[in-house]
């Protein structure tokens, strides 16, 4: 443990002397990013700079902080999107086993849960809940997307804004291929 080297004593941090660094005390479990964390990241507003950087220094967003209702956040963010984008961001969506593709406008959605719900409604299937560790465990379907590099990624891994800017098309995988993803 760090205490043997007494790293704490020589540690530089912002806080009162004698008080433990708050972050370590705060959450009993380690920094798990659940879908709700991803949701909060999705709902933060974007600036031009975030899109242009290759590795944007992602400010860690905490669920429900600052305490502004999502309706209010969406109203203001929505305006920014309308100013910047304008014409919508349509991507093709294929579902394994379905005879033809659909197209959806990614700009309409503000978060992963909204997108997943829309896909579930559109194709009448259940995708289920995302978890960082297990993907979409327990479901027969796994939503994936092709990014700018041509790689197929699991939907939900990266912050929403990053997803929107890199997603070129969506594919909802089915069956054993989908379950295999969860075990990686």
């Amino acid at each position: 443990m760090e205490n043997d080297l007494n790293l704490k004593a020589t540690e530089l941090r912002l806080g009162l002397p004698g008080s433990d660094e708050p972050e370590r005390q705060m959450t009993p479990r380690p920094n798990k990013r659940t879908l709700s964390d991803i949701v909060s990241e999705g709902s933060r507003s974007t600036t031009e700079e975030d899109h242009q950087d290759t590795a944007p220094p992602a400010k860690v967003q905490i669920v429900g902080w600052p305490p502004v209702r999502s309706y209010r956040k969406n109203c203001l963010q929505g305006k920014k999107d309308e100013v910047e984008g304008g014409t919508g961001m349509y991507v093709k969506v294929s579902v394994d086993g379905a005879p033809y593709l659909r197209k959806i406008d990614l700009k309409v959605y503000r978060s992963y849960p909204q997108l997943l719900l829309a896909l579930e409604n559109m194709f009448k299937l259940t995708i289920g809940a995302y978890s960082e560790r297990e993907g979409y465990n327990g479901s027969n379907y796994a939503p994936t997307y092709e990014d700018r590099d041509g790689d197929w990624m699991l939907v939900g891994d990266v912050p929403w804004e990053m997803f929107i800017s890199s997603c070129k098309r969506l594919r909802i995988m089915k069956g054993s291929e989908a379950r295999g993803l969860g075990c990686v």
């Binding site: 705060m26 669920v63 902080w65 600052p66 309706y71 203001l76």
Partner: protein
């Protein structure tokens, strides 16, 4: 109220306990012609007199007190209570409420705790209106008014209200969800006596039903129609016709799908409006280039009774001067969806001498707040929301704005202020300049941020607030705070009823100070603070006096919460899991506990464990 008592002495304002201290009075005589008619007659007279007198008693706290005098008073009070307020829908069952109060005309019900607004609670937790709707339908067919906050309301519930209550007049839904435009359509089409339909900050799903067209033909009794939160297109021509046949309409708040040109037409129809939500306040895309712009200034000038203005959902600031004619009369102005600068604000605010309530975005910067302070000497309530709700080092408003407001607006009673930086000095100044403060909610968006000038925690600032603002009942704290801040709150916050804490405190002592020191505490919501089981135990003497306690991402364990549940049988102790938690984890993610006469609820979803 003594703090030593295990059970409360006087009933809480939101929960009707049958007091075991009620004394027996002589039951009133029943039969006439009874040989002892003489001795029972005075009791009957007394009860009749009492009934007539109690009709005038409106405050629910007074009524609760009156109901404790004796059984006779309890009975009569129950007969004469026409407005029923239940602050936690799970504290009492619909059956129990309707059994006691038999002549209710208005129901006010609250459901989910406030932190649910910030995604801290999974959806489908509960607070369903349905069982209440059904119980009311049987018990109060004459029901006229329903006011719900943070409840789940379905389309079927709306249909029930419209179909089973023939004289239904008022529906107010605040922060509700679960229904859509098709439910609204059924509701408005069947509710012929409707006077008030207020949808405030509620989530309404777009079933693509044209509900505005469903209002019945002929003259309408509408006095208030508020739908600014409804995020779907509406049939404007139908709305125009509706406003034209609603001569009593005083409050109209449009959603952002109504353009400024359409607003003009409605204002011309209804110059008698007192409350107006302007919708988008920008032209629709379809408007032609050569079209003559209507005389917006004249339309506003014609609204001589306008006192409350809001909307501006997609504002084009060029149109702002149109509202000049009404500024001098405005008591309430909501710019909290309008991203405007200080320069754009100044010509407006400089005319708003009578303003008492002002909601705005921090885009106006400290300079804008200085302009507010210079003119709005009567300001009672200020809310400053962030355009960009992220943690950052810099922000457009700071201690400078707060200081200016404190110096200019001495009558301030309520403030909600989001900022990136704040100094103790400014908060202390406000505590001294604004002694009438009842609500002080400061949100320094950077977690654990100290005073940037002194590098000290924000303890002294909040300490000054509780010390100097003797009427304070609601407090929200933020920034770097040690246990000392909570010591201050426990010592001086004797009237505090609602306290919100996030990312604050060092140890269990902080929570102990509050639970032991604040006798009026009703609602306590805490997140991400290092408080554990020992701190929780220190509130055992007080939990029956509270509406609820919320603690998420603190240091509670399951067995600690179990202890509380065992010690207090009338407390419902809910442990709420997030998606990745196992059921048998000892660590508690979220604790939500509340007093209740009914024991564990039967509609709890899988992710809720009731201990």
């Amino acid at each position: 109220m003594s703090e030593d008592d295990e059970r409360q002495q006087s009933p809480p304002s939101d929960l009707e306990f049958v007091s075991n201290k009620a004394r027996n009075c002589n039951a009133t005589g029943s039969g006439s012609g009874h040989p002892e008619f003489q001795s029972t007659y005075p009791d009957q007279v007394l009860e009749n007199v009492l009934e007539n007198v109690l009709h005038f008693l409106t405050s629910r706290r007074d009524r609760n007190a009156a109901s404790l005098v004796c059984k006779s008073w309890y009975r009569v009070e129950a007969l004469t209570r026409s407005e029923l307020f239940i602050g936690n829908c799970y504290a009492v069952s619909p059956g129990r409420a309707t059994a006691r109060f038999t002549r209710v005309k208005a129901l006010h019900l609250k459901g989910k705790p406030r932190f649910a607004d910030f995604n801290l609670m999974p959806p489908d937790w509960g607070a369903h209106f349905n069982p209440w709707a059904l119980a009311m339908a049987k018990a109060y067919p004459w029901l006229e008014k329903v006011h719900l906050k943070r409840m789940s309301v379905t389309d079927d519930d709306l249909a029930t209200l419209a179909e089973l209550f023939l004289g239904f007049k008022e529906l107010v839904l605040v922060c509700c969800d679960g229904f859509g435009t098709s439910g609204l359509a059924i509701f408005v089409s069947k509710c012929r006596q409707l006077k008030v339909l207020d949808l405030i900050e509620s989530e309404v799903s777009d079933d693509e039903t044209d509900w505005i067209s469903c209002f019945p033909e002929g003259e309408s009794n509408l006095e208030s129609l508020i739908f600014d939160c409804v995020e779907c297109h509406i049939n404007f021509e139908a709305l125009d016709r509706l406003v034209a046949r609603s001569p009593s309409l005083k409050k109209l708040k449009l959603n952002r799908y109504v353009s400024i040109g359409q607003l003009y037409r409605l204002m011309v129809r209804a110059p008698q409006l007192t409350h107006l939500g302007t919708g988008s306040f920008s032209p629709s895309d379809i408007a032609g280039q050569g079209d003559q712009e209507p005389d917006y200034v004249a339309a506003f000038a014609a609204c001589r009774s306008l006192v409350c203005l809001s909307g501006f959902r997609e504002i084009i600031p060029d149109y702002l001067p149109a509202i000049y004619p009404v500024c001098a009369n405005l008591t309430s102005l909501n710019f909290s969806y309008a991203n405007i600068t200080a320069e754009q604000l100044k010509p407006i605010i400089s005319k708003c001498h009578k303003l008492q309530t002002f909601w705005v975005l921090d885009s106006i910067c400290d300079e804008g707040l200085q302009a507010v302070a210079a003119t709005c000497k009567d300001l009672r309530e200020l809310r400053v929301f962030p355009v960009d709700p992220r943690e950052d080092n810099d922000g457009p408003v700071s201690e400078v704005g707060l200081q200016a407001i404190s110096e200019g607006c001495r009558k301030l009673q309520s403030i909600l202020y989001f900022c990136q930086r704040m100094t103790n000095a400014a908060v202390i100044a406000m505590s001294k300049n604004c002694p009438d403060l009842v609500v002080f909610r400061l949100c320094i968006m950077g977690r654990h941020r100290p005073d940037p000038v002194t590098s000290e925690p924000m303890d002294d600032g909040f300490g000054a607030i509780v010390m100097n603002c003797k009427k304070l009942t609601r407090l929200a704290v933020s920034g770097l705070l040690t246990d000392k801040a909570f010591d201050y709150i426990g010592r001086h916050g004797k009237l505090v009823r609602t306290l919100s804490v996030a990312f604050a405190g060092d140890s269990d002592m902080a929570l102990k100070y509050v639970l032991e020191g604040c006798p009026q505490l009703q609602k306590l919501e805490i997140r991400d603070s290092p408080f554990g089981d020992a701190a929780l135990r220190s509130g055992l003497h007080h939990y029956y006096n509270m509406r609820f306690l919320w603690m998420s991402s603190c240091r509670l364990t399951r067995h600690g919460c179990q202890e509380i549940a065992r010690a207090m049988p009338r407390l419902v102790v809910e442990v709420i899991r997030s998606a990745d938690e196992e059921e048998m984890d000892d660590v508690v993610g979220t604790l939500y506990m509340y007093r209740s006469l009914e024991g564990p609820r039967t509609d709890a979803p899988k992710f809720v464990t009731i201990l």
